[in-house]
Every structure is written in C-alpha cells, then in structure tokens.
Amino acid sequence: MAIKALLRTLTWSAAVLGGLIALLVGGMTVASVAMRFFTTQPIQGDVEMVQMGIAIAISLCIAWCQMRGANIIVDFFTQSARPGALRALDGLGCLAMAVMYLLLAWRTTVGAFAVHEAFETTMTLELPMWWAYAALAPGLALAALVALVQAWMHFSGQDPRRLHGQASQEEAFA
C-alpha cells in the first residue's frame, strides 16, 4: 500500500507543480507584455520560455490525468456490458495507454541524446534544446507507471479509483 500512496503523492505533486509552472509562465508573459507596452522592450526570449515552460507543465500533468481516468473513452457501445467485461476492457485500455507513454518516453529520451550531440539551441536565449526533450521524459514515464498499476488493479479485480481517493487528497493538502 505504501507504494500506492507514494505514487499518489508523487502524481498529485507533479500536477500542482505543472499548474504552478504554467501560472509562472503566464505571469512572466504579463510582465513581458507590460514592458513592451510601456518601454517597447519585452523580456528577452519570452516566447521560448513560454514554449519550454508549458511543455514541461503539460508533461507533469499527464500522470495525474491518467490517475484520475480523465482520458476520453467512447462508452456508448458498452453500456450494457457485464462488470467483469468492462474491467477487462478498461485494463486493456490502461495497457494501451502505457504502451503509448512508454514509446514516447523512450523515444523522447533518445531524442534528447541526439539533440544534445547536435548542440541544438533555441533562437534568442540559446537554451540547449535537449533540456526540453529531457524534461518531458520523466512525466511520461510516471504516467506509464500509473497506467501499469491501474491495469494490474483492473485485472486483479480492485477498483483503480482507490489509487486517488478524495480522503487522500485532503491528506495531501494538510
């Protein structure tokens, strides 16, 4: 059980961090817009910081999205299916998402090395491009882990919603 609690705290914290980064990026943009308006000189490389910041923010949110089961499914055709069949299908759904996360995490990591060797940088600030690649992989990997645990819970007849109870959220707040 300790592992599940750890996973929950990790995922929730990552999502909050993602939101915070998005908000900070927003604040930076506001400052840049104000500077451009009043002094005609925006913050250098503001667009690059938005791009990189938002990308990292979203990658941190993916695991939470998976944990909450927020990925869209079509449930119109399986409305009258038996609970056991639904569990099996949802388990397969989690496995399919895990395949997608793992493939993307793996290839993005490989991409990070390739870009690092090529010394690619952003236009204005000359930030190394491999940062963006490397920053996305952990979020994707965490999402894959969550999806695999959920799949296992589906197949072994446990309710995967127990992974993120309301009670545990209140704990995390306190």
């Binding site: 929730w12 999502a15 909050v16 993602g18 939101g19 998005a22 908000l23 990026v25 927003g26 604040g27 943009t29 506001v30 840049s32 817009v33 308006f37 667009v47 938005v50 791009q51 990189m52 938002i54 990308a55 923010a57 979203i58 990658s59 941190l60 949110c61 993916i62 939470w64 999205c65 998976q66 927020a70 990925n71 869209i72 499914i73 079509v74 449930d75 119109f76 055709f77 399986t78 639904l86 299908l89 949802d90 397969l92 759904g93 399919a96 998402m97 395949v99 997608m100 493939l103 993307l104 290839r107 993005t108 490989v110 991409g111 390739a114 963006a132 690649y133 996305l136 994707l140 707040f173």
Partner: protein
C-alpha cells in the same frame, strides 16, 4: 499490401478500439504507429517518435490552451459565476421563465472568460439550479436551459475547440475568435427567445415573481465589473494589436486569479484545486493531440486525405450540399464522441476536401474560418443532443432530482434553434465573416 489498404485497416482498427472503450488517444496512436511501421519501416517510425512529443508540446499557439483552462478554473472557483447569475437574475428574473433566461445570459457571459462548455454548464448549474427550483421552475426547463446555455462556453470566445481547429487548419486564432462572436451572441439571444416562447405556451414551466428593486439591481451589476473588465482587457488587447492570443490568455489567467483573490474566494487550497483540475483537462487534450498526430502522419503516407479531396471535388453535387452532409455527419459523430477527438480525427481528413470546393466564392482563408464556425456550432449540438449529450449528463448529475428523459424533452426546442442557426450561417456567410473584415481589414 498497398498503402490504401493499410490506411483502411488502420482506420478500421482505430474505430474497433474506440468501440471497446480503449482511450481515444491510444486508439488513434497505436494503429497509427503500426500503420507507419508497415509502410515506412521501424527506423522511420522511431525517428518520427523522437521529436513528436516535443514538437507538439512546445507549439507556441497551443500554449494558449492550458492558460485559457487555468483562467476558466480561476473563474469557476473564484465565485465569478455567482455574481454573474445574481446580476442577470436581478434584471430579468421576474418575467416568466426569467431565471432560465438569466442562466443562459450568465452562461454566455461566463463563456467570455471560459473556453470549455462542460465547465460553464457545471459552474452555472451550481448557482442557478437551486434558485430556479426555489421559485417553482419545472426541472426540465431548468436543466435544459443550463445544459444548452453551457454550450455558450465554447460558442463565445475564448473557445478551446476553436483553438484546436485553428492549429489543425493553420488559421489565425484571433480571426476565428472574431468570427465566433456574432454567431455566439446570436445563439444566446435565440436561447433566451426559446425560453420565452416555451414559457408563453406552458406558463407553469417557469412562473413569474416579484421584480427586484432597482437599488439591488445596481448593486448586483456592480458585482460583475471584474468579469467585464477582464473580457475587455483580453479581447481589446488581442484585437487592438497589443498582444497575441497566447499572451491574452496569460493576461486573462493572471487577472482572473487576482479577481478571485480579491473576492477572498481563492486561497492556497482552492488554487491548488484549480491547478489539478486544469492539469487533468490540459493533459487529456494534448494526449489526444499526440494520438491524432501519429494517426495523421500515417494517413498522410497513404495519401488518403488528398485522394478523398480529389474525389469530393470531382463529385457532381452542389458544394453546399456536400458541406451540409459533412455537418450532418458531425452531428451523428457527436452522438458518440467528444468534441476534441472529433475535430482532431476528422479535420485533417475532411478539411482539404472542403477547401477544394467553391463556396459562395469565398477566399481560402475566409472559407476556412466560415467552415470552422459551422463545425463549432455543430459540435455544440452534439453536446446536448440525445443519446449522450455530455452537457446534459453533467447538468443532470449536479441537479440530481430531474430525470434524464425530462431534460432531453426540454432540450428539443433549443435544438430546433441550433439547427435553424446552422442553416442561417450556412446560407449567409456574412453573419460569421462580417466582424472578421471589420477587425482585420
């Protein structure tokens, strides 16, 4: 195996996976990846995947989505919806069906700071539904007005689906928002008229009550100036050329946060709740994007979209009928699918075909904008139409004491206006494009 056959197998595989509850993102991603492998080999597939996540997540125009979602969350949790409904109810609440009209009005106004229809429905329902029940409104009028009013969240800019359309078709987000303005307001006024007509025919749906004194009306109006201010700054800034839509979203998110904090409704815990709620939706949208990207990369290898476009152009059918058929197809698809997946799945395939048609002699850009608004309106229909209107589900769940069947019955008059409005926009492109030519001469 020819590329065309592989393309068809991929498409069939995707649909099969969707039918059995595999998340739409993976249902597009996995057949897309397998198809790419079959056509171009594993090296090519792995090379594409190396950069696909970074390319999609760092796209500047898409950064607007998490920022607008954050803004919508701050507005939702910051109590702005309550102020809006109170003001609208103070002015029109006393007439027959007035509270239902106030729901539609406040949903429309809330839609001006929120880009999602489900969020708009949910937040207005929480403040408006108990009031309507207290004044003896029938459940079916109340839930139907709230579910329908919620679609104004995406019809009135900012609108997350419209941003997705803009990215997919490489059009300007600002111009699409301008184009959505008049049709969105038209939708809102029409919904109010529908409430009025329904209550005239069946006065027991929404009884009239004593008017609010003027002193209270002005007080309630004072409560909504932050929303008006935010809307004017964000859209004034975008159309006055002060900032881009992404910058506008950042400004909007920060201002809405400040407004909520000033009202003492946003503390640390509530803000954290806003973060995780927008985290969920942002990630969901981007995952569908990643799945659709893989699918579309493979479909482009098969050249199916260009074959389809050539075939459609060669048809001896009036272009307007083709567009109408596409819109009907969207309504049907909307019955089983959510708006985001629908757009991401179909626009890359259908859009080139539409652009090949001669429609009212419009230029390419204008045609793209006009079609985008038509699609947006049609998507709105899918949100409230039986058997699985998403907004109806959300509102019904929150309301609790109105049967789903009643809500669907109540929704029908609103649907009639939706269909009529789409027909109007189809026949008179000026309604959509007029404002675009004013703002971008």
């Amino acid at each position: 195996m020819s590329a065309m056959t592989i393309g068809l197998i991929m498409f069939a595989g995707m649909l099969a996976l969707m039918v059995v509850r595999i998340p739409i993102a993976a249902a597009m991603f996995i057949p897309g990846a397998l198809g790419y492998w079959a056509m171009a080999g594993d090296t090519a597939l792995f090379n594409v995947l190396k950069g696909s996540a970074v390319a999609r997540l760092t796209l500047y125009d898409l950064s607007v989505i998490p920022l607008f979602l954050l803004m919508g969350q701050f507005a939702t949790q910051g109590g702005l919806s309550r102020a809006l409904f109170r003001a609208a109810a103070a002015f029109v609440g006393h007439v027959r069906g007035g509270l239902a009209m106030a729901s539609v009005l406040s949903a429309g106004a809330f839609g001006a700071v929120c880009g999602s229809s489900v969020a708009t429905s949910a937040t207005i329902t929480q403040v408006a539904y108990p009031e309507m029940r207290r004044f003896g409104y029938q459940g079916r009028l109340s839930t139907a007005a709230l579910a329908t009013g919620g679609t104004l969240g995406i019809l009135i800019p900012p609108s997350v689906p419209l941003v997705v359309y803009a990215i997919l078709t490489e059009q300007s987000v600002g111009k699409l928002f301008a184009a959505a303005m008049v049709p969105g307001i038209l939708a809102m006024l029409g919904y109010i008229a529908v409430v009025a007509i329904c209550c005239r025919l069946r006065p027991d749906l929404g009884p009239a009550h004593a008017p609010t004194p003027w002193a209270q009306r002005w007080q309630a109006l004072w409560g909504i100036w932050p929303i008006l201010g935010i809307f004017l700054v964000v859209f004034g800034g975008i159309y006055g050329g002060v900032f881009s839509p992404t910058e506008g979203a950042a400004v909007g998110a920060c201002l809405t946060l400040l407004a909520g904090m000033a009202r003492r409704e946003l503390g640390i815990r509530t803000i954290a709740r806003c973060f995780v709620a927008s985290a969920e939706t942002s990630a969901m949208v981007f995952l569908i994007f990643l799945g659709a990207d893989m699918m579309n990369a493979s479909l482009n290898l098969t050249q199916m979209p260009s074959h389809l476009a050539a075939w459609v152009t060669s048809l001896q059918i009036a272009p307007l009928w083709i567009v109408s058929a596409v819109l009907v197809f969207y309504v049907l698809l909307g019955c089983v699918m959510d708006e985001m997946s629908m757009l991401l799945l179909t626009i890359p395939v259908i859009f080139p075909a539409i652009m090949g048609l001669d429609l009212w002699g419009l230029s390419g850009e204008m045609k793209a904008i006009w079609f985008g608004i038509l699609v947006l309106m049609t998507v709105g229909i899918g949100l409230i139409a039986p058997p699985v209107g998403l907004n109806v589900y959300v509102v019904n769940n929150l309301a609790g004491d109105t049967p789903m069947g009643d809500t669907y019955k109540g929704v029908f008059p609103f649907l009639a206006w939706d269909v009529l409005r789409v027909a109007l926009l189809l026949l008179f492109p000026t309604i959509t494009l007029g404002l675009v030519t004013v703002f971008f001469p």
